[in-house]
Structure formats: structure tokens, C-alpha cells
Symmetry: C7
Subunit: 72 residues, 7 copies
């Protein structure tokens, strides 16, 4: 069982995660890295606005203070 919320990110390195941001933006991709500010680096990322694919990115860094939820 995870003891700290960030442990779930550590276990998800190399796997697909869904990052839901403030506003109706979400991003799905492979988790490559994160830091204590919840800044997140994804590979093969897809940005969704209102559930529709908007843009694909080979690599995408997300600034942590925009984040609402992260789901592995």
C-alpha cells in the first residue's frame, strides 16, 4: 500500500497516466518523470479539450500547479 500520494507516481513510471488539469483540459501519455512540485514529463502525450483530441506531442512537460488529478 502506498504511504505517500507521490508513491503512486513512482510506481507509474513507464506506464500510461491521465493528467486532468484545472479547466476542461486533460492529457494522456507515458509517465517519464515527475518532481516534488508535481511537474510531470510525458511521452507520446495527447492533449484533450472537452474530451476531444486536440494535439499530440512527442514529449510534454506539464507545470504542476495546473494539475487537478493524476490517475495511473
Amino acid at each position: 500500500m502506498a504511504n505517500r500520494p507521490f508513491d503512486v507516481l513512482n510506481e507509474a513510471i513507464g506506464k500510461e497516466v491521465l493528467v486532468i488539469l484545472k479547466g476542461e483540459i486533460s492529457v494522456r501519455g507515458t509517465l517519464k518523470a515527475f518532481d516534488v512540485h508535481m511537474n510531470i514529463l510525458l511521452e507520446n502525450a495527447e492533449e484533450l479539450r472537452n474530451g476531444e483530441l486536440k494535439t499530440k506531442f512527442g514529449k510534454l512537460m506539464i507545470r504542476g500547479d495546473n494539475i487537478l488529478f493524476v490517475s495511473p
Copy 2:
């Protein structure tokens, strides 16, 4: 009697909690972990918007600065 507000989270580990966010979003699930920033990890989480079920998540990390209330 709890002496610090976070004690109520500590006592709720493994139990169901309701997390009410800024805006009309709330999340219900089993509390697995939390940290000093009020980042929270839930299992079997249900996201509710205006009281209606929107999405189910096996695991969901909530960034603490979005939180309004937590109720065990």
C-alpha cells in the same frame, strides 16, 4: 479528540472519505495516502460534478491546492 486537523485524515486511512473541491467537483473514495500539502490518494474513486457521477478511477491522486473540504 484530534488536536490537529490532519489527525482526522490519519484516522481515515483505509476508509471512505468525501473530498469537495473548489468549483462544483467532489470525489468519493477510499483514502490511501495524504501528505502535508493535502495531496490525497484515493482508491475506487468516483468523481461527481454537480452531484452526478462523471468518472470512476481505480486510483486517483488529488492535488491539495484544489481542496475546499474533506469529510471522513
Copy 3:
């Protein structure tokens, strides 16, 4: 006479307080705990929106950065 604003919270432990949040939300309940971030734990809390009872909670933790006023 209180010398620091938080002294008034310390004196109100175990008593009813009214917490008024940013936006038209307020919460009334018995003050059980607080911390330096103004996070507050209430028991037998009633959430009011525009002055009308919305929800009752056995225990409710309020994240401090939402708070406008606290009145003992």
C-alpha cells in the same frame, strides 16, 4: 486580551464557530482543531450556501486558504 489572532481560535476549541469562506459559502460547527495554515476541523458541521443549509457533516476539515472570516 488576545495578542495574536489565532488565540481566539485556541479559546474557541470545543465551542461553536462560524467559518465564512470566499464565495457565498459558510460553515457552522464545533471547533475541534486548527493549525498554522488555518486548516480547521469542525464536528457537527452545517454547510450553508447563500444562507441556506446545504449539507450536514459529522466531521469536516476545511482547507485554510479558502477562509475569509472566522467568528467564535
Copy 4:
């Protein structure tokens, strides 16, 4: 002459002050205490919205980050 802005609060302890908040809310009352975060404790406080009396409080703690102006 005051050398730091907070000196004006120190001199106003026990006297009436007007606290103007972000938004059209202001509060008038007797200054009992303040801290470095500009959290303020008033006695016999009157909350004004758009200049009209809304509520009276025996004691009222104001969270500092809501404050726009304080006038002794």
C-alpha cells in the same frame, strides 16, 4: 513617524480600524490583534457589503490574504 507599515497596526491596537477587502466587502471594528500574515482580530465588528451593514460579530478573525487596505 512609522518606519514599517505594520507599525500603524501596532499603534491602532484597541482603536477602531477599517479593513477593506478584495471585492466590495469591508469590515469596521476594534483592532485586538494582528500577525505577520496580516491576519487581523477585531471586536464589535460590522461587515459592510457595498457600503451597507450586513452582519455584526462580537469577535471576527480576518484571514490576511483577503485584505486590500487597512486604515486606522
Copy 5:
């Protein structure tokens, strides 16, 4: 020549300054004190909203995080 932005405030002590806030609020008055958070104490202050005189204050403390510009 000033080497740090705050030097311009230091040189303006005892003189009139214009403080322009976020939103359409500005305040003109004699600078009495300031601190590292840009909290500012004015004397004989005039609050202007959309360029029109709204209120006069003998002493007015401005919380720094509301400030957009200060001009000596």
C-alpha cells in the same frame, strides 16, 4: 542610479507616490513606510476608482500583493 527596484521607494519616503493596483483602483498619497512584501503605508491618501476620487484616508496601509505599479 538605483540598483534595486526598492531603492526608488526608499528615495520617495516623505514624498507623494501613485500606487496602481490590479483592477481599476489607484491610490495617491505621501509614502511613509514600506516593507519587503511591498506593503505600503501612505498618509493623506486618496483612493481613485476609474480615475475618480472615491475616499480620502488619513493613513492607509496597502497590502503588497494587490500592487501592479508604484510611481514616485
Copy 6:
């Protein structure tokens, strides 16, 4: 593989990056420098609003707290 999100910026020095800001603003240019606050210096930068070129800058410093995404 990058171990920290900022590593992707380090690898992108001297190359073109896309910086997407909160709101519908984005900037494309050659990454010259960045710091721990995610402040970013671009050369030959093009500011896009709603996808259309608005302004070109020889050098442009972006304050980090405006950033949503950075993509190399």
C-alpha cells in the same frame, strides 16, 4: 531516459521549443536558458494567440508561473 522533468529542458537548449501558457497564448522559439522557477529565455520567438502569429521577438523572457506546457 530523463529522471526529472527539467532534464527535458536541459536537452532542448539551442533547439526549438513550444511553450503553451495559461489562456490561449503560446510561444515558439529557440530555448536559450531556463531556471528552477521555469522562467524561460527564447530567441527568435513567435507569440501565437489562438494559433495566429501575433508578434515576433528577438529575445523573449517568459515568467514561469504563466506556463501550462513546454514541448521540445
Copy 7:
């Protein structure tokens, strides 16, 4: 080549810079000083709203947290 974003400000001391703020406000003037919070002191500053000259200032201190871009 600059190694830190702030180096571009250091090189611009005594020269004209354009400061673009959050919202449709920008300021053009001679850079006299800056600090680690990105607070900026300009001389002979012109404030532009929606691209039109609004006000001229002999000296103008800009609080750093309002800043979106700085271009030398």
C-alpha cells in the same frame, strides 16, 4: 550565450525593454533595476493598454508577479 533567463535583464540595464503583463497591459521604458522577484524599475515608461498609450511615467516600479513576458 546567456545561461540564466535573468542574464538577459542584466545585459539590458540602461536600454529599452518591453514588459508585457497579464491582461492587455504592456509597458515600454528604460530598464534601471530588477530583482529576483522580477520586480522591475523603468525610467521614461509608457503604459500601453490594448496597444494605445495610456500614461507616461518618469519612473515606474512594476511588481514582478504581474509579468508575462519581458523582451529586451
